[in-house]
């Protein structure tokens, strides 16, 4: 296919050509970034979480008498364990994805807390058998002993008085890169320190807490004896029993604590609620992409249709002097290919620029390079698809048109 005549024809329509190229460029740039954002959101929504998500239910109990909790909590938990189908129950200070963070900076030695690289972590605390209630996955080391639970109380700064802790591999890698974490110590300030006795699968924090995805698994687990502020009852059962167990659990707890306000939720609900914003953003982005591509396609159809109409006579002449239908079809397809190529070339540059801008202003990550060619191909295909209709109509122009006037 000769492209020289096509370029000559486009040169006669400089402004519409430039406009359609710009439109394709802009669409390409927006598409790249929107698809990238969709990918990021979907990645967040499907983040793994090493607990038994489908079997865990949570009872959030408010209005407990702080002084009576040391006695009330074990009684309530014993009652919850009595519900048929419950495999474990324990009290927690907070749970993943509930937006109720107990965060602190931690260090690997005394007095290092204010150093720039001290990571911010979530401190989960649970009463005896909390590891079973949440379904923590032990990778190395051990869980806590009964004495360790009994010896640990919540201090005035909301820190446990015990000396043992479980870490996630993500946090262990951040604190001691390349070294075994078992037996190492975690320090908060100059006095409080905790020895790592076990490593458990990566558990998400209550919220991202401005730490980015890399810090989302920075969780610590401490043993704690029942007391004030440890008021989330976690109940585990088989997924099939879960809804009934939760209903019974709320009823039982309310009967035991007439002055308290009890809210029951399955962990699946907690997760859905946490990611509801991300999910609605994904739908909105998908909608914008689809509509924008549709508008671009209609633009191409409209413009090419006009050009076909304008060139009916020339097409007729070409057909009369021997061009086949395929030639005419190819002419318009090649023309569109050239326009799209120019468009995506500018578009990829633009997309890259927009990504840089977003990285600077909106905590956006760098877009992987393959998004650029991927959306380029998408727009090429879209262009070819859009041009097919008008091009076929052009190829159907009979040669006899050449002999008729204007």
């Amino acid at each position: 296919m000769e492209i020289q005549p096509i370029l000559a024809a486009l040169r006669k329509h400089k402004i519409p050509t430039a406009l359609i190229v710009l439109e394709i460029a802009l669409a390409c740039a927006v598409l790249c970034n929107a698809v990238f954002m969709i990918g990021q959101r979907l990645g967040e929504i499907h983040l793994s979480n090493a607990i038994d998500e489908s079997g865990v239910s949570v009872l959030d109990v408010r209005g407990l008498d702080p002084e009576a909790m040391a006695a009330d909590v074990p009684r309530d938990l014993a009652a919850l364990r009595g519900i048929p189908g419950v495999t474990a129950a324990a009290a927690f200070n907070s749970l993943p994805l509930t937006n109720n963070g107990w965060n602190s900076d931690v260090a690997t030695g005394p007095g290092k807390l204010f150093e720039k690289n001290a990571p911010n972590v979530m401190m989960y605390m649970f009463t005896e058998s909390g590891d079973k209630a949440l379904g923590l996955q032990l990778l190395k080391g051990r869980f806590f002993t009964a004495t360790e639970y009994a010896d640990s109380k919540l201090g005035g700064s909301y820190l446990p008085s015990g000396h043992v802790v479980l870490v996630t591999p993500s946090l262990a890698g951040r604190l001691w890169p390349g070294q075994p974490a078992l037996g190492k110590q975690i320090w908060i300030g100059d006095d409080l320190h905790y020895t790592v006795v076990g490593i458990v699968g990566n558990v998400l924090r209550p919220s991202e807490n401005g730490q980015g995805l890399s810090g989302f698994y920075h969780s610590l687990f401490f043993p704690i004896s029942p007391g004030p502020n440890i008021s989330n009852y976690v109940v585990r059962s088989a997924p099939a029993d879960r809804d009934r167990v939760l209903r019974d659990g709320v009823r039982k707890t309310e009967a035991l604590l007439p002055n308290a306000v009890v809210k029951g939720k399955t962990f699946t609900e907690i997760r859905d609620k946490y990611f509801a914003d991300s999910r609605s953003m994904v739908w909105m982005l998908v909608l914008v992409c689809v509509v924008m591509l549709a508008v671009t396609a209609f633009g191409i159809v409209g413009l090419t249709s006009f050009w076909v109409g304008q060139r009916r006579r020339q097409i007729g002449i070409r057909r009369a002097v021997g061009a086949t239908r395929a030639h005419i079809l190819q002419y318009f397809q090649t023309e569109n290919f050239l326009l799209s190529t120019a468009g995506v070339a500018i578009g990829m540059l633009l997309a890259f620029g927009i990504n840089l801008y977003l990285m600077q202003h909106y905590q956006m990550l760098r877009m992987p390079w393959y998004y650029l060619p991927a959306s380029a191909i998408a727009l090429w295909l879209l262009g070819q698809l859009a041009v097919l209709g008008p091009a076929l109509r052009a190829s159907n122009v009979p040669p006899v048109v050449a002999t008729r006037g204007g």
């Binding site: 508008v295 671009t296 209609f298």
Partner: protein
């Protein structure tokens, strides 16, 4: 002549109905999406207290140790004040009015036996709060400076909560049981919730939180019920190892503080006062950072500093504007192609005596018609868009609706967009050289 051009334009648009519909749809979608997001942004950045906001300021002190690592993007402890600093500023009386405050949540026991005890959210504050923010009262009033000093057990309720507790009857003088103690109602306010709730702590839901009660801060801090049935809600951040009385600790921040300053001189004097105060604290060894870190934010400036508009919303706005750009380029290209195809017709009109200006006006009207239709469609689409945002779970969702200024803005955007889009094609059309075209015919 004008009506003739409109008739011509309508006829021309009717000749290509599918294309016209597509153009109108494209510009309608572009404008609808843009206006939806601009409206959301507009309601999120609006002035929460028109008329008063210009005189309200937020003092910002920096008691953090030098080696404390602050997060440039997140919330930092020095956004709130410590108890000693707040009390020092409060008792200095250097502003026209000043009030310290913190968010709170209390367990309320209704006297009516048919209502279960429930938690309500509100604020613990000092007496000047009500006059300074101009809180409208239905009955009674706020408490007095004496009540603050005496840690009196008094409470101000909102109308909704008062109705819930006492029905339609007069609430002032009645008692409310908060936790285990009785509080006397001294005033009932109208349901008053500035959007955003500018005086709240950074952890608040600025667009959906509503205060149901106000209690004297001094009483709450002295109360044995604190951390039991009365709680401070909001960020409580400390940076010392001591396990003492958390809230009075000089290295624990949790209080918000607002001052009223009426003249530029007062503002300058107060700013200097904050720097002097910081310098004094530094010389006493309490502060470590330079005294010039002390700042005085205006209300709108503080909201900007708090960065209330989520990145998602800003990104969606850019996306919507990008989409409008695509739609406009699309329309320019299509109109241009369409107009130039009518070069013959233009030439005949020119040869018959029409000036270039006439041609420009004729085609300008045709593109303006597309724009007006698109704008009307966009208005409808943005209403659907706002409706869908109101269904979303976000904090600001329920605010997403258009006020008159945004309605006017939408129509303006539609007109500007269509005139811009129509200008180039109309200009090109009127520059068609008549002789050449006529010859080709």
């Amino acid at each position: 002549m004008f009506s003739y051009y409109i008739e011509l334009a309508l006829r021309s648009l009717k000749r290509t109905p599918v294309l016209t519909a597509l153009m109108v749809l494209a510009i309608g979608l572009g404008i609808g999406a843009s206006m939806t997001m601009l409206t959301v942004l507009h309601v999120m950045t609006q002035d929460p207290l028109p008329g008063r906001s210009a005189h309200l300021y937020y003092p910002h002190l920096d008691p953090l140790p030098t080696n404390y690592k602050t997060d440039p993007l997140g919330t930092n402890p020095n956004q709130n004040l410590t108890w000693p600093d707040a009390m020092a500023l409060l008792h200095a009386h250097r502003a026209v009015r000043q009030a310290a405050m913190a968010g709170g949540r209390v367990l309320l026991w209704p006297q009516r036996t048919d209502v279960q005890p429930f938690y309500v959210d509100g604020h613990y504050t000092t007496h000047a709060f009500f006059d300074m923010f101009g809180v409208p009262f239905v009955e009674g009033s706020g408490w007095t400076a004496t009540d603050d000093q005496a840690s009196a057990r008094v409470v101000v309720l909102t109308q909704t909560l008062a109705r819930k507790l006492f029905g339609a009857a007069n609430a002032v003088g009645k008692t409310v049981r908060l936790g285990e103690l009785d509080y006397r109602v001294v005033g009932v306010t109208k349901d008053w919730a500035p959007k955003p709730l500018f005086y709240a702590d950074a952890s608040a839901q600025f667009y959906s939180d509503v205060d149901q009660f106000f209690l004297p801060l001094s009483d709450v801090l002295n109360s044995k019920q604190l951390d039991g049935d009365l709680r401070v809600s909001g960020n409580i951040s400390g940076w010392s190892d001591s396990n003492g009385d958390n809230l009075r600790d000089p290295s624990t921040t949790w209080i918000q503080f607002w001052v009223q300053l009426d003249t530029p001189t007062q503002v300058a004097t107060y700013r200097q006062f904050l720097v002097d105060y910081s310098a004094e604290q530094k010389s006493l060894g309490r502060y470590q950072r330079p005294p010039t870190n002390a700042k005085l934010y205006s209300l709108m400036g503080w909201l900007q500093y708090e960065n209330l508009v989520p990145d998602d919303v800003k990104l969606q706005m850019w996306l919507a504007l990008g989409f409008l750009g695509v739609a406009m380029l699309n329309i320019v290209a299509l109109l241009l192609a369409k107009f130039l195809r009518r070069s013959g017709e233009i030439s005949v009109r020119r040869a018959m005596g029409a000036r270039t200006r006439d041609i420009f006006v004729q085609f300008g009207i045709e593109s303006a018609l597309v724009g007006v239709a698109g704008g009307l469609l966009g208005l409808g689409i943005s209403q659907i868009g706002l409706w869908s945002i109101r269904q979303r779970p976000d904090d600001y969702a329920h605010l997403a609706s258009m006020d008159p200024s945004m309605l006017v803005g939408t129509v303006m955007l539609a007109i500007v967009a269509s005139v811009l889009a129509g200008m180039l094609p109309a200009w090109r059309a009127c520059r068609v050289p008549p002789a050449l075209q006529l010859k080709a015919q």
